[in-house]
């Protein structure tokens, strides 16, 4: 494995960082988090279409740039850092990944529109059992129609196409289906989410017309989840870094007892520990992003990356509030926006204890 960024990756990372810094300050995020859609669609199109980030790791047949997952993860790290709130993760990562994993001529065709942000998309795969495998999946398809309920769908409202994973009644096994959001029988309910910058939706499907894109099974589902975990872990590493940066910035300006609080050892030691936690989590995320092609390693790496990121992000977000003192607990101060993201990311796709266990199992222990 190459442990250094390539110059191209660095360039990509820096371009995205600069773009987000200019176009996506928290004032912008705050403005749109109260809007109906929850994000700025034009900004998302600018990123996905104009900057060509909509399908970085998708091969050309899928309309993508044909780069590696490491590049996608580099972009996500910057989005996590900037607390970008658009549907990049749900559409250009989750949905694109589902289409890649469920490789078929239909999924390739659909992918072109997702990659270029003509359509926004998301994947509906979590149900009330909240199991991450397919064992208790209830949502099912019969004669081209789907019945069931999906929850915790990221950016599910205002999405053009919902990719649904469902049991095939007509055949055996499972399938990946595409459903138009405005289909008859589909109802969309925005759930109030702790993370104000990532909308969650509950989608109820009653006899909704669906087109089957590909067969689905446990191993495809695992691959889909692994990819999602790795992407998320990288996004979380970026968010965690921002929390440290923000703490450092405050600590270097806030004066108490005639000195900056950053010159106080209690604060210094907190920040050193934050850095250590972030670096360890970042290493896991970095290496996981570079191991996706090796199926035997991928699951293990994905679980490690997620477990490390869950603990690190949560810890540094909490410490960042602490270092800000009273002001850190206000609505006005931006820290809570990241704290909310840290908390919801901590449990999304499985929390740290869950992934520690999976990691051991995947390591043969």
């Amino acid at each position: 494995m190459d442990f250094a960024w390539t110059s191209e990756q660095e360039q990509l990372r820096d371009t995205v960082a600069q773009f987000l810094e200019a176009r996506c300050p928290t004032t912008h995020t705050r403005e749109f988090m109260d809007s109906e859609l929850g994000y700025d669609r034009s900004l998302w199109v600018a990123l996905g279409r104009d900057m060509g980030l909509g399908g970085i790791h998708a091969p050309e047949e899928f309309g993508g740039a044909g780069l590696s997952y490491a590049e996608t993860c580099a972009v996500l790290e910057q989005m996590g850092r900037a607390l970008y709130s658009g549907p990049y993760f749900s559409s250009n990562v989750l949905a694109v990944n589902a289409l890649l994993v469920g490789d078929s001529s239909q999924s390739q065709e659909l992918s072109h529109d997702v990659v270029t942000c003509v359509h926004s998309s998301t994947v509906a795969f979590i149900e009330k059992s909240v199991r991450w495998d397919l064992k208790e999946l209830e949502c099912s398809e019969h004669d081209g129609r789907i019945n069931g309920q999906k929850s915790f769908v990221l950016n599910g409202s205002g999405t053009d196409i919902v990719l649904v994973i469902a049991r095939c009644r007509s055949g055996s096994g499972f399938g990946l289906y595409a459903v138009q959001e405005d289909s008859v029988g589909l109802s969309n309910e925005t759930i109030r989410s702790l993370d104000l910058t990532r909308r969650l939706t509950r989608i109820t499907l009653e006899n909704v017309e669906a087109s089957k894109l590909a067969e689905w099974n446990e191993s495809k589902h695992q691959e889909f989840l692994d990819l999602a975990l790795i992407a998320l872990a990288n996004e979380m590493a970026g968010g965690a870094q921002r929390m440290l940066d923000s703490a450092l910035e405050y600590a270097s300006t806030r004066v108490q007892f005639g000195r900056t609080i950053g010159s106080l050892q209690a604060i210094k030691h907190k920040c050193s520990e934050m850095l250590l936690n972030i670096e360890l989590a970042r290493s896991a995320a970095f290496c996981a992003a570079r191991s996706v092609s090796d199926a035997s390693e991928r699951t293990k790496m994905a679980s490690m990356a997620k477990a490390m990121a869950s603990d690190a992000y949560m810890k540094v977000a909490a410490e960042c509030i602490q270092i800000h003192g009273g002001i850190g607990f206000t609505w006005e101060n931006d820290t809570h926006l990241w704290y909310r993201r840290a908390k919801s990311s901590e449990v999304y796709l499985g929390d740290a204890p869950y992934h520690r266990e999976l990691y051991l199992q995947a390591s043969g222990v």
Binding site: L244, Q265, I267, K268, C271, S272, L276, M304, P353, L360
Partner: protein, 413 residues
């Protein structure tokens, strides 16, 4: 010379093929190795090296491992001594010391810490006074690992009391085998006695054993410490001995038995992560969910810490300046060791009350439990590492100091 990976592999392989002999005398082999430059390949050619980029060292190591060739002597702090002399010594000093240090003929110890100054190393009060034709040293050092075996010591002493503390120190190589040096062992909490008290009473140092300029001791000491932090991982290394054919291995083992005597417990102080799964299994704890959680935590931390070091190295090789990542790695090692200790206690259960022959693995587990506390003290405490990270990596404001002005007037123990 322009080194490519292929070229390095080719050359080291050819050299080993025609020179490595598992039945040679250890000293003959080491001399040959030192002359060849393959013993310290990243060093300059002028000084027993090959000038190869640090990134290619693993290739050399691989080739040595392939034929099981013995390397230069590495135990103890000899490489810290060698690196310090390489960086700050005169050519004459390098001539005099480097070869015999690398061949293992000379043993070194590090005379930095004192009863009155540990973390605050710049507070040393051991006096070095220059007379007409030599230096005379009086004072006391403490926690000096291996002083009881050492031929030479790296000594940081105060040569000027009237300037600020960092400016009044001078660095020396002191001959440990002389009248004015008395070494008394100190028994540690884990029963071993690898460190010592060292008393200097009119000990003599020839003028040409001063390293770098008078008053420049601090910057020389910083070089030694930088290498120490880097070596912290290596010291934690393993004790595994493979049975290999050849008389040179027996000789090496005999050498190691003496040289590594103070270090036999070092792997234990790092927590013995390598035993974690084995112990969980042997104690029927692999089905215990609480243990599994702690085990996974440990394995992940250890793995991620290794990767973090590799990322730092890779970034350096791409031209980014070397930062104090050593401190981050050292801090990580403390957390890993403590997590390992926690896990070993959980898996060992009530038997953690036992010691020696009555304890699991003939006392090895007990030794872990009693040795881990050293890791966050030796070589700079965790608190000091955190200060370094905060001030030098994160750029946080320096602590206000109360020890400015002439050292004579600074508050001391």
């Amino acid at each position: 010379m322009d080194w490519s990976e292929q070229r390095v592999r080719q050359e080291v392989r050819t050299w080993l093929d025609s020179n490595w002999d598992p039945n040679a005398l250890l000293i003959d082999w080491r001399n040959k190795l030192v002359d060849s430059g393959w013993g310290m390949p990243a060093w300059p050619e002028r000084w027993f090296g090959k000038d190869i980029p640090a990134a290619m060292i693993p290739i050399v190591q691989e080739e040595f491992a392939r034929v099981n060739a013995v390397g230069v002597a590495r135990t103890g702090i000899r490489l810290l001594a060698a690196e310090t002399l390489l960086a700050h010594g005169t050519d004459e000093q390098r001539e005099r010391f480097l070869r015999r240090t690398l061949t293992g003929e000379e043993i070194w110890c590090q005379l930095f810490s004192e009863p009155g100054s540990g973390s605050d190393l710049a507070g040393v009060t051991t006096r070095a006074i220059r007379t007409e034709n030599e230096w005379v040293v009086n004072g006391q050092k403490v926690w000096t690992t291996s002083a009881h075996h050492a031929d030479y010591g790296l000594l940081l002493a105060r040569s000027d009391w009237d300037v600020p503390k960092h400016l009044g120190m001078t660095y020396f190589v002191v001959d440990m085998r002389q009248q004015g040096v008395e070494v008394r062992p100190l028994k540690q909490m884990n029963g071993h006695a690898s460190f010592n008290q060292v008393f200097f009473t009119d000990a003599r140092i020839p003028l040409n054993n001063r390293i770098d300029e008078e008053g420049n001791g601090w910057s020389v000491a910083m070089t030694t410490l930088a290498h120490e932090r880097k070596a912290a991982n290596a010291l934690a290394g393993n004790t595994a001995e493979t049975s290999r054919d050849g008389t040179i291995y027996q000789e090496e083992q005999r050498e190691n038995a003496v040289l590594t005597e103070p270090y036999t417990w070092y792997p234990q102080r790092a927590g013995r992560v390598d035993l974690a799964i084995e112990r969980a299994s042997a104690t029927n704890n692999l089905g215990n969910d609480v243990v599994r959680q702690e085990l996974a935590r440990l394995l992940m931390m250890a793995q991620c810490s290794e990767w973090t070091a590799m990322r730092a190295r890779a970034a350096q090789e791409k031209g980014q300046p070397q930062g104090p990542e050593g401190s981050l790695g050292k801090l990580a090692n403390s957390y890993i060791a403590r997590q390992a200790l926690k896990l070993h206690t959980m898996t060992t259960g009530l038997d953690s009350m036992l010691d020696g022959d009555d304890a699991p693995l003939n006392g090895l587990i007990a030794e872990i439990l009693l040795s881990v506390p050293a890791i966050s003290i030796a070589g700079g405490t965790d608190e000091i590492q955190k200060n370094i990270i905060a001030e030098r990596v994160l750029g946080m404001e320096k602590e206000p100091r109360l020890d400015g002005g002439p050292f004579r007037d600074v508050r001391k123990n």
